[in-house]
């Protein structure tokens, strides 16, 4: 029997019997991914594009109902562009720029995100998580049709895991009974309650926040503007906060803070929710409840994300509060970080030790995400009277003085981590180079002629040269690199020069397959590039 834990929105990978189930000996796969959520599917797509055979085992047969994540940040969209599915996401998603903050019945301020120009993608889009996952799976289907070695098996829950010296053995259940598979590497993308983590007896520690939030996704035709609205202490939710956010398909996300001691069942009664919604959007407005749920949250992380041949990615490794949208966004960056490293290790292009840097870099990112999302949660859910005192003081001041605006924290924009101090970083030898493009940083996008810079970074190591001479083609240790020779004139807006030259007249960058900077120099020097390449592939 395969248990159903949630309703599916889209049935994308119905159960089919696989030959592995009949095999006399467990079949060995280079990579098995447990969990077909956003992180598992992004992982499969990345590996499949690199020609690495991977098998996704999910305990359901499609994408879960209910929207959960709605804000997908620019970095996520850039990664999805590289994976081939950024366009449908951005076409479907809602872009917003205006936010309004209310207290009681008054608007205390409004802001325009004013995203920096010269990027292909917006600061973020609002899109229901099921759509996001559906677009990833659609791209996997497209690649499969073209021969990419990706396989997805629905209704295949993993029920046991045993680690051997150089592989992992998995027990898998199916509607036709159990079977076994083996994996050179296992990527556990099985969510915040990760059964793999539990079966391996591994820790998951952090902080529980004593608060409940009610989500009501509603469909309404009302002519509300496309804005993010956030309330402190509104008349319709006294003493608590509330949020209104637009999603595609005339769906709106309403989020009500409820406090700690609540009667969960009573709060989830549809009539009770309908009353809350009407009090918020106005009694005469027609709407339909699409999805409702009550969530509590915690900020937790595993001690280590790599355990031998098992790597943890996404919510299984770390969990954050939803404020600041760093859950799915952070998880997609895990996959982005791990994909090229796993491929290099499996292809024998890098030592297995390169995978240790996955833990180092992504733990650093997770701690940054936890820090940011905990700070937002602390503002919304003050832990003691003094914290509440300062929060209220900020809200008193912000009605009169602009200086207090940056102190209001209802969720900060999700931005990617700069891997400062990573063992993979090479030298920063570009005098006057801009800090935002230092070794460890993800490359900023910039306009280049009639396109954008990031579209030129195809998922291999790359050498980017601006106003500097480079060879037409380049390979190191038999691996071809992308060579991108540009001149500052290729971007009339000056963004390229501002983001990559700074004070320097010319620059050469070595860039990783995940678009993070390895090192930078004022001129091309093959010996230096090769040394940095070795460093970035874990050989030194």
């Amino acid at each position: 029997m395969v248990a159903v834990r949630y309703q599916t929105a889209f049935r994308l990978y119905p159960y089919e019997k696989s030959a592995d189930q009949e095999a006399a000996q467990p079949v060995r796969h280079p990579v098995v991914i447990v969990g077909g959520g956003p992180v598992g599917m992004a992982m499969a797509l990345d590996l499949g594009k690199r020609g690495i055979a991977c098998l996704v085992l999910d305990d359901h047969d499609g994408v879960g109902m209910g929207s959960r994540a709605i804000c997908f940040a620019k970095r996520t969209l850039e990664i999805c562009d590289r994976l081939g599915c950024g366009d449908p996401m951005v076409d479907k998603g809602v872009v917003w720029n205006t936010g309004r903050v209310y207290r009681d019945e008054r608007e205390v301020y409004s802001f325009d995100l004013l995203p920096e120009g010269g990027h292909r993608r917006p600061a973020f889009i609002n899109l229901q998580q099921p759509y996001f996952e559906q677009f990833l799976v659609a791209e996997i289907r497209r690649l499969q049709a073209a021969g990419a070695p990706i396989e997805i098996r629905g209704q295949n829950p993993v029920t046991g895991v045993r680690q051997q010296a150089d592989h992992v053995v998995l027990d898998v259940d199916t509607p036709d009974g159990p079977y076994r598979v083996e994996a050179d590497y296992l990527v556990a993308c099985d969510g915040a309650n990760s059964p793999i983590r539990t079966m391996m007896g591994l820790d998951f520690e952090g902080r529980v926040f004593e608060d409940n939030f009610l989500i009501a996704d509603i469909r309404m035709m009302a002519d509300f503007p496309v804005e993010r609205r956030f309330w402190f202490d509104p008349p319709f939710n006294r003493g608590e906060t509330a949020l209104l956010h637009k999603q595609p398909d005339d769906v709106w996300r309403l989020d009500f803070q409820l406090g700690w001691n609540i009667d969960r069942k009573a709060e989830l009664a549809p009539e009770r929710i309908r009353d809350r919604v009407s009090a918020m959007i106005g009694a005469g407005v027609d709407f339909e409840l699409v999805w409702t749920s009550i969530y509590t949250f915690r900020c937790c992380t595993m001690e280590t994300y790599r355990h031998g041949q098992v790597l943890f990615a996404g919510d299984s490794a770390h969990q954050v509060s939803p404020f600041g949208a760093r859950g799915a966004n952070g998880g997609i960056q895990d996959a982005d970080n791990l994909g090229w490293k796993l491929a290099a290790a499996l292809n024998g292009e890098a030592p297995d030790a390169l995978l240790d840097s996955y833990h180092t870099e992504r733990k650093q990112a997770a701690l940054e995400n936890i820090k940011n999302s905990s700070r937002s949660a602390d503002f919304l859910t003050p832990r003691n009277p003094a914290h509440a005192l300062f929060r209220d003081a900020v809200l008193d001041l912000v009605e009169h003085f602009d200086f207090a605006r940056p102190m209001v924290n209802s969720g900060r924009l999700s931005v990617p981590c700069i891997y400062d101090g990573s063992p993979l970083n090479g030298p920063d030898a570009l005098g006057g180079g801009p800090a935002r493009s230092r070794p460890g940083a993800p490359c900023s996008d910039a306009p280049v002629r009639d396109g954008f810079l990031l579209d030129r970074l195809t998922g291999r190591f790359a050498v980017l040269a601006i106003n500097a001479a480079v060879p037409e083609s380049l390979s190191i240790e038999g691996q071809p690199l992308d060579v991108i020779p540009l001149s500052a004139e290729d971007d009339a807006t000056g963004a390229l020069a501002h983001r990559y030259l700074g004070e320097a007249p010319c620059a050469v960058y070595l860039i990783r397959p995940d678009q993070h900077v390895v090192g930078r120099w004022p001129a091309f020097d093959p010996a230096r590039i090769e040394a940095a390449f070795s460093q970035a592939t874990g050989k030194v």
Binding site: L389, F390, A393, V394, L397, F403
Partner: protein
């Protein structure tokens, strides 16, 4: 790094102190706490320098826990 000034720095200490007390006249405990908090945030923003603010936080915490100074 700029050092936090811990030597006397007000031109007319008595005038400032009187003005401070006057601002709290007639306030109950909750209102006084709220005024403290607003004042701290306004002054912190004016100072701006994170290093100075950290030193100020440390100094304030330290003075509270000095032996013999802890209120019963």
């Amino acid at each position: 790094m700029t050092d936090l000034i811990l030597a006397p720095n007000l031109n007319n200490t008595d005038d400032f102190y009187a003005a401070l007390l006057a601002a709290y006249d007639g306030l109950d405990e909750g209102e006084s706490h709220a005024l403290n908090a607003r004042l701290v945030l306004i002054l912190a923003n004016h100072i701006g320098d994170e290093g100075v603010l950290t030193q100020a936080l440390d100094a304030a915490v330290m003075a509270r826990s000095s032996p013999g100074q802890v209120a019963k």
